[in-house]
């Protein structure tokens, strides 16, 4: 450290900044909370009137409505906390306690934002309820007719099994086929050039084709060719073939990215030990690559699951097709809602799994030396 005398530069002094005043923000949050309490009560009253108009009377439903009306009262807690803290901040500032003022002000802002966040969610919920009961519950009737859902559920579930079988087979096949194509694309040397070319053309072509067209061409076209093998295949098998060809191309691209991400030094290490090209792929490169690409592979897998609903274009009675038949019989879409819910139910656990795997990979990367 230099003495100030020997240094010509004046030492700079720092003037402390006072905290932001949170009083008006807190007041705004409180007003918003009060408004939402009134709005919620109004919406629930509307729901009650719609129920009466439709001769729906149930004690439990009334109970639910009352409970929902009480929910926004919870907003008063963070709002009033915010107000208290901002007042405390003002008082601390008056007694020149800057540090306490900062702490209180920061608390006041946090609680005000808290109020705003929950209020926003509540607004969305109220809008949805209004949409649902609009036009004398038209939305509710069209999509959520409970009786139809209950009656058609068995048929839909049975038909959904067709989707499950298709995507399980197509999933396993496309995982294998994709790896084969990816390796073909990466074969080294001049003699393998034609193979590489074909593999590249295949992936390019099927990446650009909409899967619905592939399903249409294969599902209708192959039986038309009259070749014995294809003529006797069930439609479901042709759907599996079409989805395998389409998603095999997607999977191949993911595999290729994974294989190329393995550092050349791993190849050098394996080959220098006398392992052949194939052994290096099998024991060193593919196992490492697959670990890295599990999340994107699973994403493709989920995408394919959803595309199984497209097989209805060739007349496979899958869940969607079954639901459409029911929908046109009853002039109501509730059975389709069932299908939507089934797809959501099987997909959400998988997307959460993908998230988990991605997070695990990231954690390992952070920790890795």
């Amino acid at each position: 450290m230099m003495e100030s005398g020997s240094n010509s530069r004046e030492a700079r002094r720092r003037t402390p900044t006072p905290p932001r005043d949170g009083f008006r923000f807190a007041l705004g949050a409180l007003v918003l909370a009060l408004l939402l309490i009134v709005a919620t009560a109004a919406v629930m009253w509307g729901v009650k009137q719609t129920m009466t108009a439709n001769n729906f009377r149930a004690l439990w439903a009334d109970g639910v409505l009352v409970l929902l009306t009480l929910v926004p009262l919870g907003l008063l807690r963070p709002a009033s906390r915010s107000l208290q803290e901002s007042r405390a901040a003002r008082l601390a500032l008056q007694s020149e306690n800057l540090i306490a003022a900062r702490v209180h002000s920061s608390e006041a802002h946090t609680w005000a934002w808290f109020t705003l966040g929950y209020a926003g969610a509540l607004v969305l919920f109220l809008l949805f309820v209004l949409f649902f009961i609009a036009n004398n519950v038209a939305v509710g009737r069209t999509f959520f007719q409970l009786e139809l859902i209950r009656n058609s559920f068995g048929l839909i579930l049975q038909a959904f099994w067709v989707n499950v079988v298709i995507f399980l087979f197509a999933g396993v096949f496309s995982l294998i086929w994709g790896l084969v194509v990816a390796i073909a694309k990466l074969l080294p040397g001049k003699p393998a050039q034609p193979i590489r070319f074909i593999a590249t053309f295949y992936t390019d072509a099927f990446l650009s084709l909409p899967s619905i067209i592939v399903i249409y061409l294969i599902g209708f076209g192959l039986p038309l060719t009259g070749i014995g093998f294809f003529r006797n295949l069930p439609l479901e098998a042709l759907a599996v073939l079409a989805l395998t060809l389409t998603y095999g191309a997607y999977m191949a691209e993911v595999y290729r990215a994974g294989l190329e991400s393995i550092h050349p030094s791993q190849w050098a290490a394996a080959r220098s030990l006398g392992l052949s090209y194939g052994q290096t792929l099998r024991f060193v490169v593919v196992p490492q690559a697959v670990r890295r690409i599990v999340p994107p592979l699973l994403n493709n897998f989920i995408g394919m699951q959803k595309d199984t609903a497209l097989v209805n274009v060739v007349g496979v009675i899958d869940a969607f097709n079954q639901a459409r038949i029911i929908a046109s019989n009853d002039f109501n879409l509730s059975a389709v809602t069932t299908v939507a819910i089934l797809f959501i139910l099987i997909t959400i656990p998988q997307t959460r799994l993908v998230d988990r795997l991605v997070e695990r990979d990231r954690a390992r990367f952070r920790q890795g030396s």
């Binding site: 030094s265 220098s272 030990l273 006398g274 052949s276 052994q279 060193v284 490492q288 890795g368």
Partner: protein, 247 residues
């Protein structure tokens, strides 16, 4: 007949000629140290000897048999010539034990129990038998490099190539790796090292080669190279090393 004879080897990467006519002879049980500034072709030469890089001209003979050019069984060559890399290059998805037994079981078709017993014996020798089930990223750099050396030794090579194997290590971990090399040298393992460890080269090498500009500029016993270098460029290199306090 010499053990390893390198004659007029040229290697180009595109327009960049890295090796411009290397001549070098290595006898059995010799330890040859390649020294020289970065980019002089030490690593490339080692990679050419076990066929990781193709050469454009010249030839390399092992026991009189030509090991460069078309038609050479590289997998068979690499069973006899092992290499250890600067960055260890262990397989991160395999345990230490699996790293060592992979090549013996898959390439030499050694039965699994036998390969494991042998690997454990080698690990015991370097004091790492308790790490057999660990994964490479659970080891220190020095431990990883010793495992990498043992992985190469498990193939019982007749020649071991070591490519700046201590350059990526913390100074305090260098000695554990060098001690292992000293031991191997005492047992008569034929080795070629590309190295910046001048003290080690001085102590262990049977022959030191100063490489510069893609050729072997000067070679001789360590006493001669380090105390009485003949060429001006060698003198410059050594004096800069001394200035940096590395000799």
């Amino acid at each position: 007949m010499s053990f390893l004879k390198i004659r007029n080897v040229h290697k180009r990467f595109g327009a960049n000629e890295v090796l411009r006519g290397i001549n070098l002879t290595v006898e059995e049980h010799q330890v040859v140290c390649l020294i020289g500034p970065s980019g002089c072709g030490k690593s490339t030469l080692l990679r050419c000897i076990n066929g990781l890089e193709e050469i454009q001209a010249g030839e390399i003979r092992l026991h009189g048999d030509r090991i460069t050019g078309p038609g050479v069984d590289l997998n068979a060559l690499r069973r006899d010539v092992g290499i250890v890399f600067q960055s260890f290059n262990l397989f991160p998805h395999m345990t230490v034990l699996q790293n060592i037994t992979l090549a013996p079981t898959q390439v030499l078709r050694m039965p699994e129990p036998e390969a494991q017993a042998k690997a454990l014996a080698l690990l015991k020798r370097i004091g790492l038998e308790h790490k057999a089930q660990a994964y490479p990223d659970q080891l220190s750099g020095g431990q990883q490099q010793r495992v990498a050396i043992v992985r190469a030794l498990a193939m019982e090579p007749m020649l071991l190539l070591l490519d700046e194997i201590t350059s990526a290590l913390d100074p305090e971990l260098v000695s554990e790796v060098l001690n292992l090399l000293r031991e191997l040298a005492r047992e008569g393992m034929t080795m070629i090292l590309a190295t910046h460890e001048m003290g080690f080269a001085k102590e262990v090498a049977s022959k030191v080669c100063f490489m510069y500009g893609g050729v072997v500029h000067e070679e001789g016993p360590p006493e001669q190279i380090f105390t009485n270098p003949q060429h001006e460029r060698t003198q410059q290199f050594l004096s800069s090393i001394i200035e940096a306090g590395r000799l």
